[in-house]
Symmetry: C2
Subunit: 196 residues, 2 copies
């Protein structure tokens, strides 16, 4: 589960993970918003009706959900559990509020927060895009402050100062987590004493 | 803290870590055994008298200790605490019993166990050395079985099948652990709101 303030470089870091680990899959969320040109159901999102989404909330089938600009977005527990059952690692690009819900509902997740080196650099990056108005930049900076203040509980903090170092650390987290004994204990089975 | 059964490849994996992380230091143990030709006090070991060692035990200054072939060996808490205070990561090459003591006395350690791919391969490696008698090989295999059976509580299990993959995973564990939020939370201080 990866979160980051806007401008921290999350998109390119996630892309690096996907390129590095061909077996890593991006989680597909459910949403009530309209499908856009070029989007595919089940690939970009599972597009469902508002009623179906509400039903999922009622049945507690969602590990996290949120309303954004009047549309509902959420991750189903079934998606997470099915992947886990098949031994597939899912990558979830998710905001702090969604991540906090996930932390409660799906403890076995690994939570990574991407940090910019500092505010000055974050502001520089947001301005460098050249696409946003001043008020949008100010709003993003304020949101970033808010999100960073909520990042202390994440399992890992990755500072994206030098992009290559950040990629290297992000990749290392996946490799290391795959070695954690609660995920690899089955390897010990072949060493159990059988009348040696 | 790294443990492994004999023949699992611990020595070359530790050497790889030292080559990769110039800031990683090997912990220097205390011992009561005689200094050998070429060994240096404070570098290979801290060579102390039996009385001084017993005093350290009495004063609970040791994070772990053991008697091996009539000599005492141990790691002092001071060594660990001083390194931690200076932000230095120590590498401890330690057997399962020492590691288990350390786990109790020094919770903040990261415990890695190196596994051979299987017993057949371990036996092959031990024989391949060509230096040990059959009874020594059998004893080592028995010890390995014993040690592997105690490895479930370690934080990480690294299988040394492909040596390059094992090195890569071992290095990843250090990199990832250095990103863990309980070690990096100080990075958030520069983002605290100061009248923005």
């Amino acid at each position: 589960m990866v979160s980051a303030p806007s401008g921290a470089g999350k998109t390119s870091l996630c892309q690096e993970l996907i390129d590095t680990f061909p077996d890593l899959r991006q989680s597909v969320s459910f949403t009530t918003r309209q499908k856009r040109e070029g989007e595919e159901d089940g690939v970009d999102y599972h597009f469902i009706s508002s009623e179906a989404f509400q039903e999922k909330i009622r049945q507690q089938q969602l590990a996290e959900w949120a309303e954004v600009h009047g549309n509902l977005y959420g991750t189903s527990l079934e998606t997470l559990n099915e992947a886990a059952a098949q031994g597939i690692d899912l990558l979830l690009d998710i905001d702090c509020q969604g991540a906090a819900q996930l932390k409660k509902n799906y403890q076995q997740g690994v939570f990574v927060f991407i940090l910019p080196p500092d505010y000055a650099e974050l502001e520089k990056r947001l301005r460098h895009r050249g696409t946003d108005d001043e008020d949008v930049i100010q709003r993003r900076l304020k949101n970033s402050e808010q999100e960073i203040s909520q990042s202390r509980w994440y399992d890992y903090l990755v500072v994206n100062d030098d992009i290559n170092l950040a990629k290297d650390n992000f990749i290392a987290i996946i490799k290391a987590e795959r070695c954690r004994s609660h995920r690899t204990a089955h390897l010990l089975n072949k060493f159990t004493i059988k009348g040696r």
